[in-house]
């Protein structure tokens, strides 16, 4: 049976924990709004870009002169997994869900006898995968200094990946991130970016035949690397919103749990206080009777 003093200390410490988690929840909520706005503002660009690329890819894709980024290297022996996670923890299952998806993919590929290389973006994913796949790491991109993710960050990552591709380090690249559904749901997603695949958007081009200036091939060759950057940028923004959403609901849970714990401890505290008082009364009364 803990003493009254112990209980009191316990209650105080849980109370201050609750204050911290509450504050974190509110900060996450504010950041979530900003992250969502950023994600929304980037959407028109990504959508149009993909629509144009889909049209281009469909008309040029079949030919042998298609760029390697679209056609692939002709083999798929070496896979690069780009695992994008948060720089901070305390956001529920966010980081571990992405890491788990990446791990499953890595195991699957290795079982097929493919070579797997891993590039991590964000510290937490690196930590999660280090023990099992540490020898597969080829690089890490640190975004902990970045306050607000900009297109330039995505370009840097894309540049890194593309230079590895040009050097022939891998055949297929896949990015892993969490798609933001709503505050409680984030869906870990794997998306292949090299060779690029574009979803056909129906009815968008209204059957118009475009003139291309310069040629279709030249435009495609110029835009494909940008497509990689665009895909990474939208993934980074989705990830940012997901992280804050996950943190918000995790901290909401933590706050609620702390509240329940305080209630329980307070009841326990009051009971033992009453027991102490009753005890003292009994002692006094039986002492008086003995006289």
């Amino acid at each position: 049976m803990p003493s009254l003093k112990d209980l009191k200390n316990r209650i105080e410490s849980v109370k201050s924990t609750r204050k911290i988690t509450k504050a974190m929840q509110m900060v996450a909520a504010a950041k979530l709004r900003r992250a969502q706005e950023a994600a929304e503002q980037s959407r028109p660009y990504a959508e149009r870009f993909n629509a144009v690329m889909a049209g281009l890819a469909a008309s040029v894709g079949g030919s042998d002169s298609a760029p390697k980024l679209l056609r692939g290297t002709g083999s798929d022996d070496v896979h690069l997994l780009v695992v994008m996670t948060a720089e901070r923890g305390l956001c529920g299952g966010f980081n571990s869900n992405i890491a788990r998806l990446a791990r499953a993919k890595a195991d699957e590929l290795r079982a097929k006898g493919k070579t797997v290389k891993i590039l991590t973006v964000g510290k937490k994913g690196r930590d999660a995968l280090k023990r099992d796949y540490g020898d597969l790491f080829v690089g890490h991109i640190d975004l902990s200094e970045v306050k607000r993710i900009g297109y330039a960050n995505a370009q840097d990552i894309a540049k890194d990946i593309l230079s590895r591709f040009d050097a022939g380090e891998f055949d297929v690249a896949t990015i892993f991130y969490a798609k933001f559904q709503n505050v409680v749901t984030q869906i870990p997603t794997a998306q292949q970016i090299i060779p690029a695949s574009f979803e056909e958007t129906e009815g968008d081009d209204s059957g118009a035949v475009f003139d291309y200036e310069p040629s279709e091939e030249a435009i495609l060759a110029e835009l494909l690397p940008k497509g990689v950057a665009t895909a990474i940028f939208s993934a980074l923004l989705e990830n940012g919103a997901s992280e804050q959403g996950a943190r918000m609901s995790a901290m909401d849970n933590a706050t609620r749990n702390a509240g329940e714990m305080i209630d329980k401890l307070t009841i326990q505290f009051n009971r033992s206080r009453q027991a102490v008082i009753t005890n003292e009364l009994i002692e006094i009364i039986s002492g008086a009777e003995a006289l």
Binding site: S42, Y45, V52, L56, A154, S206, D211, E213, L223
Partner: protein
Amino acid sequence: MANTMQFDLVSPERSLASLQASAVQIPGADGDMTAMPDHAPTITTLRPGILKVEAPEGTSEYLVTGGFAQINGDALSVLAEKAIPVDEVTRSHLDELIAEARASHEAAKENGEQTIVDEAAKLLADMEALGTHMSL
């Protein structure tokens, strides 16, 4: 014939403009072109330069680098990697761009592929011309 067309200028980070325009001057990779309503459907890549938008409400200018324009008869979308309204462009923006162009020029020279060197040199020249044009 319609007098205006829908014009959209979007960068990866935000959408900069969405309005009815009567004519838009685009710095295309193969040369400037002006798109007016009912222009033939065209897709062109951009070189760094000034995008001039003429709308009934007045004209506006943007500094754009990288990306492409999609002309679709009654609509024109410009997707630029970087787009800044000209009024907001400062010398430091430009210096940054020039430094970038110079770096890629140097890198191309080391790799030694003539076409890339030429392209980078052109990009660099474009950037510097842009600076003089805007008298910064």
